[in-house]
Symmetry: C2
Subunit: 208 residues, 2 copies
């Protein structure tokens, strides 16, 4: 069954906290986006009580170096999942995967802007979630279903796939029917809508 991850971005920390609590149990994974990390910092996220009852918490750290420092700090928050860039050095990727395995938590490898050769070099981490990510700054359009299909054919060894980048209700339904991706990530279309809870429920229904 496809999971829904909702990204919360570019809002004050208290608003992010409220929204996360409102979405707790409605969606599978609640993401605090990179903007929340870079605006407020992990120290503030450690102090804020993000302990969710039912949903998992992902913090989009986008680690690209200093893997040990960032992942140890990151897991001191209530995050269940942290992200690392596929564009990092193999040393960074290996170290962050190791820490995730040791702490029994999850790691999400963001494949944004890396080529197939690099994917092949880093596809040997069976418990990692691999994220197909269409950059927010990209000017080209993104056909998620085709991208997932092509990626799956090139990398059948990768079992856990997430997809992010402008996914709407219609695309979410198609991705779910396609049955390859484990996680669909939606940002503004839920968190930025006038009624995030209703929007979240609509997406959850679309992927059943």
């Amino acid at each position: 069954m496809t999971k829904l991850q909702v990204a919360i971005d570019r809002v004050p920390l208290d608003k992010a906290l409220n929204l996360a609590q409102e979405l707790d149990g409605i969606v599978d994974i609640i993401e605090l986006g990179t903007s929340i990390v870079k605006d407020y910092g992990l120290e503030a996220l450690k102090k804020a009580d993000f302990k969710l009852e039912k949903s998992q918490l992902l913090i989009d750290l986008k680690t690209i170096d200093e893997g040990e420092y960032e992942f140890v700090k990151g897991y001191e928050t209530s995050a269940n999942i942290l992200t690392v860039m596929g564009a990092s050095s193999l040393g960074t990727l290996k170290k962050t995967y190791e820490i995730a395995q040791d702490t029994g938590k999850d790691i999400f490898i963001d494949l944004m802007e890396i080529d197939d050769q690099k994917v092949n070099e880093i596809s040997n981490m069976p418990n990692a979630i691999y994220g197909l990510h269409h950059s927010k700054d990209a000017t080209t359009t993104f056909n998620a279903v085709d991208t997932i299909q092509a990626f799956h054919e090139s990398h059948p060894e990768i079992k856990k796939i997430a997809v992010a980048g402008g996914v709407d209700l219609d695309q979410a339904k198609k991705i779910s029917n396609q049955g390859i991706a484990d996680v669909i990530i939606v940002g503004g279309k839920i968190a930025g809508s006038s009624d995030p809870i209703s929007s979240a429920k609509e997406f959850m229904e679309a992927i059943q």
Copy 2:
């Protein structure tokens, strides 16, 4: 003349602030490392009074997406220079360069983990500082002088070069004599020494 940039990392924010003020005027550029950004956030760095009298302030944002959001926020602090990853999309790089140009501030492109082909695609930003960066997580050693020479020969169009990664006094002297790099970045060997001010002065003397 080669400039010295000192990176402050992995210390409490008040200690970072004190050290930056102590180093003001002694070194050319004072860097607040990525650990300071991710631990405390840009909102705290906006509130803290980092206004330096003589040295420039660089914040190592390591932007890899959301170029406009991060650079607009970043320049709202007292930073003169912000960093973006060369591994970002061309859209992100173009946008951040544009914002730097429009605000009359500086941009540092971190070349960590990108290949020559990508460097060629992004070497057309004449006012950017291009940073040769040996990852903190890398397990291989780094001969800075040889790396700079080879880079300069492959990319003579790039005029402003910075170099980071385990540079010691001896290497700093050699890089300065070589006369290619504009900026030498030193982290722990100054900021983490028992007497950062003396260490900074030693490095400054070495590169005269």
